[in-house]
Each structure stands twice: as structure tokens, then as C-alpha cells.
Amino acid sequence: MTAIVANSRQERWWNSRTAHRFMNHHLALLGMVMIAVLTLACVLGPYLLPYDSLYIDLRARFAPPFTGHHYLGTDPLGRDLAARLFMAGRISLLVGFSAMLLSTLIGTLVGVLAGYRGGWIGTTLMRTVDGFLSFPSIFLVLALAAALKPSPMMITVVIAATSWMEVARIVEAEVRSLREREFVQAGRMLGLSGTHIMFREILPNAVGPIIVAATLTVARAILMEAYISFLGYGIQPPLPSWGNMLNGAQQYLGSAPWLAIIPGAAITIAVTSFNFIGDGLRDAFDVRGDHT
């Protein structure tokens, strides 16, 4: 058992076929570059810009982009849009990423348990997954977000609580198909505990599909945060997020369209990049099925 594992570790991951296939996927590489640039801009950008995200420049309210001192223009209060965009990006990317971690964790636990145990535990868990999937996700998220105190942490938890089902389904199917394989039977024969078999023997074989699903979950979590913040139930001002920057933008659509166009473009670029990366990973790991 350990010999086989040790053997497979010999191969360096960056020399593996998976890595090669990923590197040949141009869209995925483009996505990686875009996310890297976006993340760097959000981390470093606020330090490099002349204005703070909360500084109110009353004489330059509604300044259009690419004119004057404010590179991307200003909002109705005269705050620098570029500075706010980068600060918002920190929150939006962080919420999207943390929500992905949490929902992947929940989904993996549920999926492994349901797939390995099967029987009535498996059936109950998977029917619960179906139950959650029957609700239009935004109705559930909004009802919960309105009921609970809206802090970035709570928004993350609420988004994760309503987006773990896809991962659970994928992991369950994968684990169920691996359950009867020889190496699992060997593990049982050796007297390994159920937990050990589930998480040490079976789970590593399902890593590919989990990573693919997790990447696509980041994309969906960023979108969901944008939706609920746009509707006013997500991240609350003065904390900026890409979604809540769009919250008041509709009423200035005629006079200051950049207020709507710029944050929306940022969301689209981030989400597209994660979807590209997910697509590349799916090809690289050779995960079957078309989940787009």
C-alpha cells in the first residue's frame, strides 16, 4: 500500500501529464494571468494611488474616467473610483475565495460520507442535497442574509451554506465508484478504520474533480456576492465590494455610466478568469461531463 503511494509521489507534479495539458490550455493560462494581475492590483494598488478609498474630493464629484487626477473618475461623493475598485476587489475576491474553501469542505465531507457509507445515510444526505438545489439559490441567500447580521464573515458563511451541493454531488459519485475497488478492499482487509479509508485512501483519488468544482465555485461565489451586495443585502458600505459599488449606480446611469460599467467589468473579468481556469483544469484532469 505505502509502496504504491510512495512510487506515485516520485513523479514531479510539474512534469505530470496533467500539468502539461493545463499549460497547453491557452484560455486557462490567460485566466491565471488575469487573476494574478487583478490580485496584485487589489493588494498593491491602494498603496500606489494618490487618493485613499475613503477620501472625499468634493470639488471633483462625478469626474469621468481618464480626465484629471482621478484615473477612473470619482463617485457621487467625490471618492476615487480606482482606489475604491481595488479595495472592493480585496473584499470580493476574499469573500469568493473563503466561500469556496468553506463550501468545498462541507461538500467534500457530505460527499465522502454519502458515497462511502451509502445506505440510508447516503440516501438522506443526497436527498438533502436535492432539497437545497430545489431552492433558487438567491432566494435562500437573500432570506438568510436579511435575517442574519451582514458582516463579510456572515456573507461568506451564507454563500458557502448555499453552494456546497455541486461539490457534494461530484464527490459522492466519485467515491461511490471507487468504493468497491481493490485498493479499498485491501484497506478494509488490513483493518484500517472507515475514516482512514475514506479520507486517506479514497479521497486523494478524487482530488481532480474536487479542484475543478472548487475553481468553478469561486466564480459562482464572486457572482453571488455581487448579486446580493448589488441588491443591498451583502457587504455593507462604507466597506466597498464590487457588488455594492453598483448598488447606487443605476440612478446615475444617464449622467455617470462609468459608475456602473467599471465595477461590473471587474466582476466579469474575475469570474471569466476563474471559469477559464476551471475549464483548463477540467481538460487537464480529464474530468468527464460538461458542467458548464
Binding site: 484560455l27 436527498r127 438533502t128 436535492d130 432539497g131 437545497f132 438545489l133 430545489s134 431552492f135 433558487p136 439559490s137 438567491i138 432566494f139 435562500l140 437573500l142 432570506a143 438568510l144 436579511a146 435575517a147 442574519l148 466564480a219 457572482l223 455581487a226 448579486y227 448589488f230 441588491l231 443585502y233 453598483l246 449606480a249 443605476q250 446611469l253 444617464g254 455610466p257 456602473a260 460599467i261 461590473g264 466582476i267 466579469t268 469570474v271 471569466t272 476563474f274 471559469n275 477559464f276 475549464d279 460538461d290 458548464t292
Partner: protein, 316 residues
């Protein structure tokens, strides 16, 4: 068929049961629970609240409260709106048609365009068209629906002045043409994501069918490619799409909520947000349960329709 129907029906019943449990949990997560309405009223003392709790049976064990709540749900007693005291089901009914109109028209658009793109992508695999359709679908899936709506309003309403920026009709003009004029932009905005999803699945389904033996037989018979595509491929590829249409319903409802907000469309999504703003929890809960029940029922109907058309499914 009988066995299939019974099996599928019992599955849906179990699902409805689970859906109701999830709904009940959400209801009790709201601060103040079912009494949230009175918590905001300064004239209510703690004693009043306790008395109400006693009267409404809210100090009984949770499972008894659940049974009570679920039983009233089954009977059609979904409570009353805090805002105007109207029964929740009536309030939902008043907004249902607008949402169905929007969802229906955007689904027609999504199916028409998505099917065409999917089939063309499959028959011209790895062509420039196929590549652009694949990339385009991924980008379309990444555009926030509300932002697409805002950009649409900016371009077509504010700049070009071709289409109205919102509402379902112009006050004082109730003609069908006027409704249609208002329907164009929201339904296209709502359709975008589903064109993308539909075209990807249609491409996969068409490729599956094309590689099958009976298509080879049809070619061997000397049928023209066009005839093979129309008669043998499209019909078979569309069959799994019926199931897909049912599965996509939650996401269409999610999109409808956002689209209705941007275009001030008086449907269920708009109602949901308004009710949330007024802390009108009976309507919020009602819409939550109503949409989930709608989804379960539509999936059931989709599966039954597929089974009627395709004997392989009902006999297996």
C-alpha cells in the same frame, strides 16, 4: 410506466418533505422567528410577546410546530402579508403572471438560439464558430445578469432610445404591442446565461447522437446530411434537454429576481425583494416555499414527459 410513475412520485414527495424542513429551519433562523413582525412594534411588551407565543403554540417542541406549519402549508393556509393583510397565496398569485411571462419568453429565446448554436457547434466541431461559441458561452456565464441589464439600459434606452428602461407597460397604454416592447430587453437579458448553458449541453447531446449506429445507418441509406440532422439527430438530442429545462428552473428564477429588480418588472422576484425590505416574512417564506415547490413539480413533469416520449426510460 405505472412503476416508473409511482417511483418518481414518491421521490418528489420525499423531496417536498425535505424542502419543507429546510424552509422551516430558515423561518426559525430569522431573528424573532415567526413573531418577527411584533418585535419591531414598540407598543408590544415582553408579556404580550409571551402571551402571543402561548396562543400561537410557539413554546411547544419544534417538531410539533413543524407539523403544524407543514399541515397548514398543505391546506393552502400560507399566512397573511404584514403589509396589507392579504393571504400570501393571493399576493403571490398577483405577481405570478408577470414572472411567467418573463421566464417563458426568455426560455423560448434561450432554447431557439442555444439549440442552433449547439447543433452548429457539433456539426462544425473545432471550427472557428465552435471555438467562439465555447469561449462566448464561458464569458456569458460570467457576466452578472444585473450588470448586463444596466449596460443594456444605458445603450438601448438612454443612448439610442429604442427600448423602454423598465416597467411592464406604459401607463394608459395596455396594448399587446406595448407589453411586447417592454418585454424585449428583460427577456434577452435573462436569456443570456441560459443561451450559454443550453448551447453547451446541446452541443454535447448532438455529438453523442451523431456518433451512434443509427446515424451511420441513415448515412448508408443515402439520406442527405440535412435530412439526417433534422430527422434523426435533432429530435434525439433534444430529448435530454427536456430534463435540462426542468433542472435549469432554479437558476432561471434566480435570474428573474435580478432582472425584475433592474427593470422594475412587477413579478415574483421584485415582490420578494420588496417583502424583504418591509420585513414581510410571511410573503418571503411563501415565495421561498412556492419557488421550491414549483421547481420540484416542474422536474417531475419534465421526467414524466421524457418517459412518455422515450420508452427506454420508463421500461428500464
Amino acid at each position: 410506466m405505472r412503476g416508473f410513475l409511482l417511483n418518481r412520485l414518491s421521490q418528489s414527495l420525499v423531496l417536498l418533505l425535505i424542502v419543507s424542513v429546510i424552509g422551516f429551519v430558515v423561518l426559525n433562523l430569522i431573528p424573532g422567528g415567526p413573531l418577527a413582525q411584533f418585535g419591531l412594534d414598540p407598543s408590544m411588551t415582553q408579556d404580550d410577546l409571551n402571551r402571543l407565543k402561548e396562543q400561537l403554540g410557539l413554546n411547544r417542541p419544534l417538531w410539533m410546530q413543524y407539523l403544524d406549519w407543514a399541515w397548514r402549508l398543505v391546506q393552502g393556509d400560507w399566512g397573511h402579508s404584514f403589509r396589507d393583510g392579504a393571504p400570501v397565496l393571493d399576493v403571490i398569485g398577483r405577481h405570478l403572471v408577470a414572472t411567467l411571462l418573463l421566464m417563458g419568453s426568455s426560455t423560448v429565446i434561450a432554447i431557439a438560439i442555444g439549440t442552433w448554436i449547439g447543433i452548429r457547434g457539433a456539426t462544425h466541431r473545432y471550427s472557428v464558430f465552435d471555438y467562439l461559441a465555447t469561449v462566448g458561452a464561458m464569458v456569458a456565464l460570467s457576466i452578472p445578469t444585473f450588470w448586463f441589464g444596466l449596460v443594456g439600459i444605458y445603450v438601448f434606452s438612454l443612448r439610442l432610445g429604442w427600448l423602454p428602461a423598465g416597467n411592464m407597460y406604459t401607463i394608459g397604454d395596455g396594448s399587446a404591442l406595448n407589453y411586447l416592447h417592454h418585454l424585449i430587453m428583460p427577456s434577452i437579458v435573462l436569456a443570456l446565461v441560459h443561451v450559454a448553458i443550453w448551447s453547451r449541453y446541446m452541443r454535447t447531446a448532438t455529438l453523442d447522437v451523431i456518433s451512434q449506429e443509427f446515424v451511420k445507418t441513415a448515412r448508408a441509406k443515402g439520406l442527405s446530411e440535412r435530412r439526417i440532422l433534422m430527422k434523426h439527430v435533432v429530435g434525439n438530442a433534444l430529448l435530454p434537454m427536456i430534463t435540462l429545462a426542468g433542472m435549469q428552473l432554479p437558476s432561471v428564477l434566480t435570474g428573474a429576481l435580478v432582472t425584475e429588480t433592474v427593470f422594475t418588472w412587477p413579478g415574483m422576484g421584485r415582490l420578494f425583494l420588496d417583502s424583504l425590505g418591509y420585513s414581510d416574512y410571511p410573503v418571503v417564506m411563501g415565495l421561498l416555499m412556492f419557488s421550491a415547490i414549483l421547481v420540484v413539480l416542474c422536474n417531475l413533469i419534465a421526467d414524466i414527459v421524457v418517459a412518455i416520449i422515450d420508452p427506454r426510460i420508463r421500461l428500464s
